[in-house]
């Protein structure tokens, strides 16, 4: 509010000044920050690594400029093709991951790239109990995704591919705002 008042005053002053001067260089509008204009989408992100892993190279920019409500119709089929290429067991009838999702269902979930966040329970990407209720800083999201892609029905398949064995950040997180560690 304070800024609006200031901006109004500045614009009033400049209008008044303009009225008693022919100086074309006088400002005629607010001198506060300019927030006008239209901003057009460049990038978007929700769940980690979705665009990088599941979207084919020629479609990556298009994925970044497709609104989430239209992602499933445009990308689910591509996601399924790429998942089955990455982890061929998914192409077998009835094959599922440890969440019980087959290729079509799993990619149907992923293709709408939004990060689900619970306002009532633990917020985590996956902690063994809660699934897709948020993304906390310490969540080992890459291992979770590798497990869901390569780990099969009980996380036991392809053990060499389903865990990168980097389990934690290189600096401890803070318990309080802003939560992220100070820079190196």
């Amino acid at each position: 509010m304070k800024n609006i008042k200031t901006a109004l005053m500045v614009s009033l002053i400049s209008v008044l000044s303009f009225n008693c001067s022919n100086d074309d260089n006088m400002p005629t509008g607010p001198t506060g920050p300019d927030f006008t204009g239209t901003y057009v989408q460049m990038d978007q992100m929700a769940r980690p690594a979705v665009n990088t892993v599941f979207v084919s190279p020629s479609s990556k920019d298009m994925f970044n400029t497709t609104i989430p409500s239209e992602m499933n119709a445009n990308f689910q089929s591509m996601f399924q093709t790429n998942l089955e290429a990455l982890s061929p067991a998914y192409a077998n009838p009835g094959d599922t991951n440890a969440l019980g999702l087959d290729a079509a269902t799993f990619t149907g979930l992923l293709a709408t790239d939004v990060l689900n966040v619970s306002t009532t329970t633990t917020t985590t990407f996956f902690d063994g109990t809660n699934v897709l209720t948020g993304r906390a800083l310490a969540d080992d999201v890459i291992t979770v995704e590798l497990l869901l892609i390569f780990g099969g029905e009980d996380f036991s398949e392809n053990p060499g591919l389903s865990d990168d064995n980097v389990d934690a950040n290189d600096k401890p997180f803070l318990n309080s705002f802003p939560y992220l560690a100070s820079p190196w």
């Binding site: 901003y39 990088t52 989430p68 939004v114 009980d154 705002f177």
Partner: protein
């Protein structure tokens, strides 16, 4: 993490390895898997490139925290020179009625060393084009913390904000992943090596009372960067 304990329980052979390696050409474009770091040609390495997005319950459990990280893989040597782009709007989208269309947005954009936050507010239009809701929304301004300084935060109406360089919270053995994709290795190492160790990001953190976000238990959220036309 419980899931990790299950990983090595069994050691079935990688029967499909050859097929996986055979399609590695398809996967070369995946080489920069890193949450969303450098994910697509139009934004790669630029000031609109989102590297990561997090949403979690705050220290005050009545709040949610949204973290947007930009311009990943900053070495300490270049972090001091990295800056937010005044032509790039960061927009956190919140769908609170399960249709994957944003009902509320939180906007952040830098001006002259400060980050301006607007919202949460119902946007005047949804989708790919946005106007900054400066005339309608609650405004919160925070000084962008310079490299090497303690985090500077600002709080107003229950919302707390930060903008500035931080350690990249993302971790992954990306180098070994690349070796696997390139066909030079057949598995990860144990222990692995965090490729993102020692690197920084430009981070925007905003903590908001859950009561301002609506919904009935679950929200769908995502973040966008938008360039001024």
């Amino acid at each position: 993490m419980r899931v990790k304990k299950l990983t090595h329980k069994n050691s079935l052979l990688m029967k499909n390895l050859k097929r996986i390696l055979g399609i590695s050409i398809v996967l070369i474009a995946i080489v920069f898997i890193a949450a969303d770091h450098i994910d697509a040609p139009a934004v790669q390495g630029g000031s609109s490139d989102i590297s990561d997005f997090y949403a979690f319950q705050g220290e005050n459990t009545n709040n949610l925290v949204f973290v947007t990280n930009m311009q990943g893989l900053l070495s300490p040597a270049v972090t001091g020179d990295a800056s937010f782009d005044e032509n790039i709007l960061i927009e956190i989208n919140i769908d609170n009625n399960a249709d994957n269309i944003e009902d509320l947005v939180i906007q952040a954009i830098p001006r002259d060393g400060r980050m301006y936050f607007f919202g949460p507010i119902a946007p005047s239009e949804t989708g790919l084009n946005s106007k900054i809701e400066a005339d309608n929304a609650m405004q919160l301004v925070v000084d962008i913390t310079p490299y090497g300084m303690d985090a500077m935060t600002a709080t107003s109406a229950g919302i707390t904000a930060f903008a500035g360089p931080r350690d990249d919270p993302f971790f992954m053995d990306f180098a070994q992943y690349s070796e696997i994709i390139a066909g030079n290795a057949t598995s990860f190492n144990d222990p692995g090596s965090d490729t993102f160790a020692g690197t920084n990001v430009l981070s925007v953190v905003v903590e908001v009372p859950k009561a301002m976000l609506g919904g009935s238990g679950t929200l769908n959220t995502w973040v966008e960067t938008k360039r001024k036309q």
